[in-house]
Amino acid sequence: MSETLKTSLYNLHKELGGKMVPFAGYEMPVQYTAGIVAEHKQCREKAALFDVSHMGQVTIKGENPAKALETLVPGVYLKLKEGRQRYTIFTNDNGGILDDLMVSNMGDHLFVVVNAACKNEDIAYMKEKLVGYEVTEITNRSLIAIQGPEAKTAMARIAPESVSMVFMDFRSIKVGGIDCFVARAGYTGEDGFEISVPEEHAEKIAKLLLEQPEVAPAGLGARDTLRLEAGLCLYGNDIDTTTTPIEASLEWVIGKRRKEEGGFPGANVILKQLKEGVTRKRVGIIPTGKAPARAHTKILNMNGQEIGEITSGGFGPTIGCPIAMGYVPTDMAAVGTELKLLVRGKEIPAKVAATPFVEQRYYRG
């Protein structure tokens, strides 16, 4: 085992009472003294600060990098405007998902954020496939997310240029006097920002944000309950190399032109599925009662036969009940379909539910 890495906010996490756990090779705070539920509510009601510096930040430089990127993803990037960001996935030749990522157009190059657990593979993959392009991991910048309905109020004070940004805008602006890359996006379902900051200024910016009356720190525990309520996939749980974007109910990541032209790994599989359908789909599931159904819980039909598995599940502090996601046969994917979950040997009634479980509140202007 290699040594656990620390982000540039490690000391701050300790100061704030963060309970540190190993996550994707890093020591990260799973929660602070407030606890997961309080941190979750902080984000839904005011604003929460998350350290997401473990994620990979990468630039792609060269002649028309959007065109090169399109050979690896099903999204449309040729027309992505400068200063805009878009979500996509790396697909493999079987139509499976290698990772999900955010890509921003920074004018003469692309700025990419990938998952911590996948970043080494992703970077090696991009370097191998994007011949003639310069793929560079940015190792000297931290990434801080500020999320919640009052994030904009806090940001307006210390980063006045942020107020004119809308959901999925991406700009180089000053935050607390420091040059940062700021995206109006996140992983909680709330309005908010992600700030890429030079690591030597990360603690200063984090502290400045925490000084704002709206803001309190939140850890990975709340990040997970927030994204689950928002119906957002976690790579490695809800999507991986064994799931296609069609099965994962991520059809929307496939651009209109890409549906016609293909030209991305696994396009033959994915476009065929798009036309002919799939045998299973990712759905939201709400168990009856209070027992959470965690990942790998078996999903049964009403006759007690195993039909699938929960991929993410837990308790949703805002919705106030257990929530889950998992894969079920397509004919059982309609909202309201009754099924059962096998929790510790007991069959718990459950229903397919619409996602997001909690309304997304992005700021679209």
Binding site: V30, Q31, G35, I36, V37, A38, H40, G221, T225, K290, A291, P292, R294, G314, F315, P317, P322, R344
Partner: protein
């Protein structure tokens, strides 16, 4: 008499009946508790058997019976208010009562001071 286990449970024994719950230290480690799966009255359990499950937002944690015996009462108010395990783990948040079949099993458990030291060392 109150005794404690290495699994951070407490047992208060009176007239051959043990009232069992998790310690304040344990609830702090678990975090926000959202569900308690209670045993059933009349369940016969041996020392070390899984007898209840406490689910926090993070994860499920099994509770093992610190003694052998028959479950005679469960704290049903935890069904509606599992957070009582966070707010009052060593009083209102008791989980079940068991009629001890072998009181000598208590001898190997820790007393209050020994447990305080143990929790500190394992915190």
């Amino acid at each position: 008499m109150i005794k404690f286990t290495e699994a951070h449970e407490w047992i208060e024994v009176e007239n051959g009946v043990g009232k069992i719950g998790i310690t304040d230290f344990a609830q702090g480690q678990l975090g926000d508790i959202v569900f308690v799966e209670l045993p059933e009255v009349d369940d016969e359990k041996s020392k070390g058997d899984e007898i209840a499950v406490v689910e926090s937002v993070k994860a499920a944690s099994e509770i093992y019976s610190p003694v052998s015996g028959e479950v005679i009462e469960i704290n049903e108010s935890l069904d509606d208010n599992p957070a009582m395990l966070n707010s009052s783990p060593e009083a209102d948040g008791w989980i079940f009562k068991i009629k001890l079949s072998d009181e000598s099993e208590l001898e190997n458990l820790m007393d209050k001071d020994a447990y305080a030291k143990y929790a500190k060392e394992n915190g």
